[in-house]
């Protein structure tokens, strides 16, 4: 494979391209869905393909194809160069790439349990055990959907700078979604697990443990009251802090979006948050769902500081944006698969832990909300964010009280970061999947934090 890729890259250089890269993949996937104890489909599939990118006269051409052989790859390189030339006719500011050391490396996955070695019967068994736990918890639970996915295979990367990298790919992921009904009150809850270490993740996150957690969450909501609309102090749990750091803050610090005019544009070096706030995007967390060794431009991953003590110190880059802003590439260029080109994506994004206990966060709140777990979140370039909450509680006179359903918070990212007035000493990371035209596997998290004021909507 390596020889074929190197040959096509050389061929592209011969056509006059400033830069050429070829990524090839062989992937094997197992997918399962169970609905209310019934296996909807046990699925297995294979995919192989390549993505070719060429930079000519400051513009990109990209071609993706299945089942590349030497001849098809050469044709794809031809096409990519031709496409780049067509696009370059209108280029005003030529794309240039930051220098990086060209790496030759081979990265192997060393799972204790490879998902390939676990039979599909056993995977079905785990999902059904989880389903039984959920339905067994309470008879008001009406539905339970469990999805499972594992991906194994190899990524090959060769570029015209001389990089040549072979990386094993390994992802294990599962999501459980439960709904409950009591009279006219409907509630739903979900949970995700994900790992790059191996199938052994299910030894710790047992079906009983995860099933009980989700079941408890959904039933708790049935008796929940709807929140008052308005501005309140709030304590955010690690799961909500994570989605906030990812959605409300992280996307704005992806250099492509920063350059596109996110509110972080021209704020580098400025105090943008409470000095209690330190945020990293970190690709090096062992076994974590957002971790990898090299990104899809062949750049070594790293732990990238974004905010340190409240000051914006870094952005997430690919080689193009790093060059444009005269900074260093950070290893954030990721492609979902060979079908699409690499773009700037997060890895494991988190707020660093502080020194408060949970009691200290809650005790000074006269009336507010404890937002424990999220249902979804979204942010806009202007820093307007919204996070839907699936598990929340009132805080009354310093104590966590009644459960609250269908809450949602919104506000402006920077205003909210400035209002962080206490940071907990605990820490958790949660796996998730992020959509930015493509899907990327990520983690986010942090400790519990307290925010002086946030807009709470929800209820009907």
């Amino acid at each position: 494979m390596r020889d074929i890729l190197t040959k096509s890259v050389d061929y592209g250089r011969g056509l006059g391209a400033e830069y050429v890269e070829v990524r090839a993949q062989n992937l094997f996937k197992t997918l399962l869905t169970t609905k209310d104890g019934t296996v909807e489909g046990a699925k297995e599939g294979t995919e192989s393909g390549a993505g070719v990118r060429a930079l000519v006269n400051g513009a990109w051409g990209f071609v993706s194809l299945g089942n590349p052989d030497s001849k098809l790859l050469t044709e794809a390189v031809d096409e990519a160069v031709r496409l780049a030339k067509a696009a370059s006719l209108r280029v005003k500011s030529a794309v240039k790439l930051a220098e990086v050391k060209a790496v030759e490396d081979r990265v192997t996955a060393n799972p204790r349990k490879s998902p390939q070695d676990v039979s599909i019967e056993e995977k079905i068994g785990v999902a059904l055990a989880m389903d039984r736990t959920v339905f067994g918890y309470d008879k008001r639970i009406k539905s339970c959907t469990i999805s499972y996915l594992d991906v194994t295979g190899k990524d090959y990367f060769v570029n015209s700078d001389g990089a040549c990298i072979e990386q094993d790919k390994l992802y294990v992921w599962s999501r459980i979604l439960a709904s409950a009904r009591e009279n006219s009150v409907y509630a739903s809850a979900r949970e995700e697990m994900g790992s790059t270490s191996g199938y052994e993740v299910f030894d710790a996150e047992t079906p009983e443990k995860v099933g009980t957690m989700v079941a408890k969450r959904v039933v708790e909501q049935l008796k929940g009251k709807t929140p008052k609309g308005g501005s309140f102090p709030a304590v955010l749990g690690p799961n909500v802090v994570g989605v906030f750091m990812h959605e409300a803050m992280g996307h704005l610090a992806e250099a492509d979006l920063t350059l596109s005019g996110s509110i972080l544009y021209d704020k580098l070096g400025e105090q943008i948050a409470s000095e209690l706030v330190t945020v990293y995007d970190d690709g090096t967390v062992e076994g974590s769902f957002g971790s990898f060794k090299y990104d899809d431009e062949g750049v070594r991953t790293q732990k990238t500081p974004i905010i340190e003590g409240g000051t914006l110190t870094g952005l997430m880059h690919n080689r193009e944006t790093a060059q444009k802003l005269n900074m260093k590439p950070t290893g954030n260029a990721r492609a979902e698969d060979f079908r699409v080109e690499p773009i700037i994506r997060m890895r494991n994004t988190y707020l660093a832990a502080g020194d408060s206990s949970f009691e200290e966060l809650v005790e000074d709140v006269d009336f507010g909300y404890y937002l424990k777990s999220f249902r979804g979140g979204q942010a806009n370039l202007d820093g307007t964010f919204q996070v839907g909450i699936q598990e929340a509680y009132e805080i009354v006179k310093g104590k966590v009280g009644a459960s609250v359903r269908n809450a949602s918070i919104s506000g402006n990212t920077l205003e909210t970061l400035r209002r962080v007035d206490a940071v907990g000493r605990d820490f958790e990371l949660w796996p998730g999947r992020c959509g930015k035209g493509q899907i990327a596997f990520i983690c986010d998290g942090g400790p519990h934090i307290r925010v002086g004021e946030v807009t709470v909507g929800g209820g009907a």
Binding site: A42, G45, I120, A379, L381, T384, Q386, I389, N412
Partner: protein
């Protein structure tokens, strides 16, 4: 672009079905798709990239004693197709029976589709697409220099679909589409607008790239100087993008038979009941002329059809694929869909096709003109965090403008809208006549009374 090679795909599909049955499957189905596309991408004010992709593959469903197995491959050789069929059969044998399984669909005759294929799209060169993208970009720049063309582009696609099964279904279809889109922001000193967005998507080569650029720029400029407002209950006019977001995670799931059967729909047991304003009539129309989701048959080979979902406020029908229909002895409405990275890599799931709200007789300006104090909402953020079962939502409106004395006034920021989607449908007071399609939703502007807004 690659020419459709339907005969070849049908041959491979038949081979896969034959192999699965020969190995011992009770029934088998092959789904094949071939998608190719070219696009020109705009980023931060310039054309930066041209992309071409071809993606083809096969997915096989094999059923063994009511257990369903599935396998796919993107390698279309006789050998890999046979391997996929064998793997599907093995997966079925390893799986557990689905007690609700009845059978795969049987052959039925298909209705006519119109306006779903245009040879001009197939023949477009990437140079022509670059010119179209440049024209859209030029329109943004010409509108106002405070506007930045953040992201967008022009793209064409061509798709071939084949479904073959062991009960005699043999279906094939080809289609084309073209789209251009533009996301903008405007920046004036420290004032930055939220992202604004305009798109034009068609099945035939009839898009207005310049109009998309101008409209995206207009939205951004008029979003400058946004102010906060106090909380209250207002009439709200929703443009299509906002309406679509609100419905996508609520109503459009609540009418799916599988949601109803699994008690995940607030519309369960409501057939024949009034669930919306009398102004609301909704069809799911898989045969809509030129519709973005129009096709002769669904992704398991069932004919597309036009299904009356809500008739003047009264719920008339749910949407079915063959599995949910078989479960209750109903007929599939042709709503099986394979979504995901690649259609061939996915099993069918229940999805709306062209989800069409019938238009009213008022011009869009009249919807606004009759409002003394309210909001005009173009988009909402966070709709995916709605409660999928109850239809409760809590979203940020963006971009959004005040309506004062029947006129669109200044932009607003930081306002949340909360409520229950079924109350929204009951409180519809007018539909405009400006129908357009965005994704699955085909609808005009809609005015809704008594929407709760949480501001400062």
């Amino acid at each position: 672009m690659a020419e459709p090679k339907l005969a070849e795909l049908i041959d491979l599909g038949e081979r896969a079905v034959k192999v699965a049955v020969a190995r011992g499957a009770d029934e088998a189905e092959a789904f094949l798709s071939l998608n190719s596309g070219t696009s020109i991408d705009v980023e931060r004010g310039q054309i930066v990239r041209s992309v071409k992709s071809v993606d083809e593959g096969l997915g096989v469903r094999a059923v063994y004693r009511k257990a369903v197995g599935f396998s796919y491959t993107n390698t279309l050789t006789d050998k890999s197709v046979e391997e996929a069929a064998e793997r599907a059969f093995r997966a079925a044998r390893a799986s557990k029976p689905d007690e609700n399984w009845v059978r795969l669909p049987s052959p039925r005759s298909f209705g006519e589709t119109r306006g779903t294929y245009d040879k001009r799209i197939v023949d477009l060169s990437s140079d022509e697409l670059v010119e179209t993208a440049a024209c859209m970009l030029g329109a943004v720049e010409a509108y106002d220099k405070r506007v930045l063309a953040v992201d967008g582009g022009v793209g064409t696609s061509m798709f071939s679909t084949v479904v073959v099964n062991s009960l005699g279904v043999e279906a094939s279809d080809v289609g084309t589409a073209v789209a251009c889109s533009m996301e903008t922001i405007a920046r004036d000193g420290a004032d930055v607008t939220p992202a604004c967005y305009e798109v034009s998507a068609e099945r035939v080569y009839d898009i207005d790239a310049e109009g998309v650029g101008t409209e995206a720029a207009r939205q951004a400029v008029s979003s400058l100087k946004a102010e906060r407002i106090g909380s209250g209950v207002f009439p709200v006019v929703f443009a299509q993008a906002a309406f679509r977001s609100l419905l996508s995670y609520t109503l459009m799931n609540a009418v799916k038979a599988d949601y109803v059967q699994r008690e995940r729909s607030a519309l369960k047991d409501k057939i024949g009941e009034k669930v919306a304003s009398e102004l609301v009539t909704v069809y799911d129309d898989g045969l809509l002329e030129g519709g973005l989701l129009t096709r002769r048959f669904d992704d398991e080979g069932v004919p597309s059809q036009k299904t009356l979902v809500i008739d003047r406020g009264v719920l008339r029908s749910f949407l079915y694929d063959s599995h949910s229909a078989n479960k209750v002895g109903a007929e599939s409405t042709g709503n099986a869909s394979r979504t995901g990275v690649a259609a061939y890599a996915s099993t069918p799931a229940l999805e709306a096709s062209n989800f069409r709200f019938m238009e009213g007789d008022r011009a869009a300006e009249e919807l606004v003109g009759e409002v003394d104090e309210g909001l005009l909402v173009y988009g909402v953020q966070g709709a995916h965090s709605s409660n999928p079962e109850s239809g409760e939502f809590s979203v940020v409106a963006t971009p959004v403008w005040k309506i004062e004395g029947g006129e669109v006034a200044g932009a607003v920021r930081g306002v949340m809208l909360t409520g229950v989607v079924f109350d929204v449908l009951r409180n519809v007071s007018a539909f405009g006549n400006n129908v357009r399609q965005l994704g699955q939703l085909v609808a005009p502007w809609v005015r809704v009374e008594n929407v709760r807004a949480v501001g400062r």
